[in-house]
């Protein structure tokens, strides 16, 4: 099985690769991990990871700047219906649009808009940064084998306001409920960083790698 981590000039891909490497040990299958931005590599992958760091707009601009990358991701997810996992801004890009910096169109795979978190309580800070408890819907693939209300590491100021609640499989609380994980058919994503969330994060990646095997 080939897993490709999409390299579009954002963030620390090595920590993601390292975590996937660890996760792969829990999966009874020969797994090759590639870091690439080549549409060809993406289209021949079995699974794709879309990391993300920085602003929504910058991430989307970076994707558009790599020839055919956007098209190949669309083909991979929509036509081929193969599994993708978005992390943080990577997940946010699944939405219709993001309002960070300026209104920017996303992939539109999961209906909703990414908006800045608005806090009434002056004692709460933004970014929402650190370890928070994640509450997930029982019986979902992503959190299989994980104790409900486990801690995950978040760092973000924007929230994916998902239109259809059935696509939200986990939430966390920061004054209001914040989307922590989405899942729609072959499309997976977390607002938190599994690669920075110790064992509970590795398990999430293992569950993704096991999906559909």
């Amino acid at each position: 099985m080939q897993v490709t981590i999409v390299d579009y000039g954002t963030g620390n891909l090595h920590s993601v690769r390292k975590a996937i490497n660890f996760a792969a040990k829990n999966v009874n299958k020969n797994i090759t991990i590639k870091i690439s931005n080549s549409p060809k590599e993406i289209l021949k992958s079995d699974k794709v990871i879309l990391p993300g760091q920085g602003s929504y707009k910058q991430c989307m601009d970076n994707i558009k700047n790599i020839p055919e990358l956007e098209d190949s991701l669309n083909e991979f997810v929509i036509k081929k219906k193969k599994p993708i996992f978005g992390i943080c801004v990577g997940m946010q890009l699944f939405s219709n649009e993001g309002l960070e910096q300026e209104k920017t169109k996303g992939f539109g795979w999961i209906s909703g808009i990414v908006k800045k978190i608005v806090l009434k309580d002056k004692n709460l800070k933004l970014p929402h940064m650190g370890w928070n408890e994640v509450k997930f819907a029982e019986d979902n693939l992503l959190f299989k084998g994980i104790k409900n209300l486990s801690h995950y590491y978040f760092v973000h100021s924007y929230n994916f306001d998902v239109k259809d609640q059935k696509n939200v499989v986990a939430t966390t609380e920061y004054e209001k409920l914040i989307v922590a994980a989405v899942l729609k058919d072959n499309i997976f994503g977390t607002q938190f960083h599994p690669e920075k969330s110790q064992q509970n994060g590795i398990k999430i990646f293992s569950n993704f790698l096991k999906f559909n095997l």
């Binding site: 620390n12 760091q53 910058q58 800070k125 970014p127 650190g130 370890w131 928070n132 920075k196």
Partner: protein, 252 residues
Amino acid sequence: MLKKRIIPCLDVKEGRVVKGINFIDLKDAGDPVEQAKIYDKGGADELCFLNITASGENKKILLEKVKQTAENCFIPLTVGGGVKSIDDIQQLLLAGADKVSINTAAVENINFIKESSLKFGSQCIVIAIDAKKIGNDKWRVYTHGGKNDSGIDVFDYLKIVEKNGAGEILLTSMDRDGTKTGYDIELTRKVVNNVSIPVIASGGVGNLEHLYKGFSEGLASAVLAASIFHYGDYTIKDAKNYLFKKGIPIRI
């Protein structure tokens, strides 16, 4: 509920962990990679590396240590000390840092904060402030590892860094650093109340009650400590259990 963070800090010189008293008289306390592993397993919420001498040669050694540490840890790693350019940040992030802490270069050129936060995202730009009390209710920003008085008032500076995209403040009291008499609570609380981004309290921790006060009175989002952890006075677990019992929201 979002938990308060405990961040062990490793002051690194020539690839070794040291901790000074008031920034001088450095003692050797071991290999940063080994220390980092212990902290990761012990339940630290994040890790911090501060490169306390920033010559070219040291940078290479540091990058290697960052790489080895990132290989062995699954918690966020902040690296600071001598971060002066976009290229410095890029190299650290590529080596495996999740955030960088910028001190002198931000004071000297405020645009650097803006540029770096736009390029890498606010979430990875930590602005380190070394604050020294100069009078009643007045603190001054110091640079160059605490050697130079910038002449800038801490609270004026805070407004500027926040506006320019800083994601977090690492606040060190120069008066308390290395003294083991506790954080400067008055300063910490004032800084927290003056910004909307998270503040990490630093400088002066000698016991667990000091950590508690950093949260309960200083209102910090995170506390940073060096010597109490790496000389083995307390483990991260000791600290967490203590704070948990005292009612601080902590990840156990």
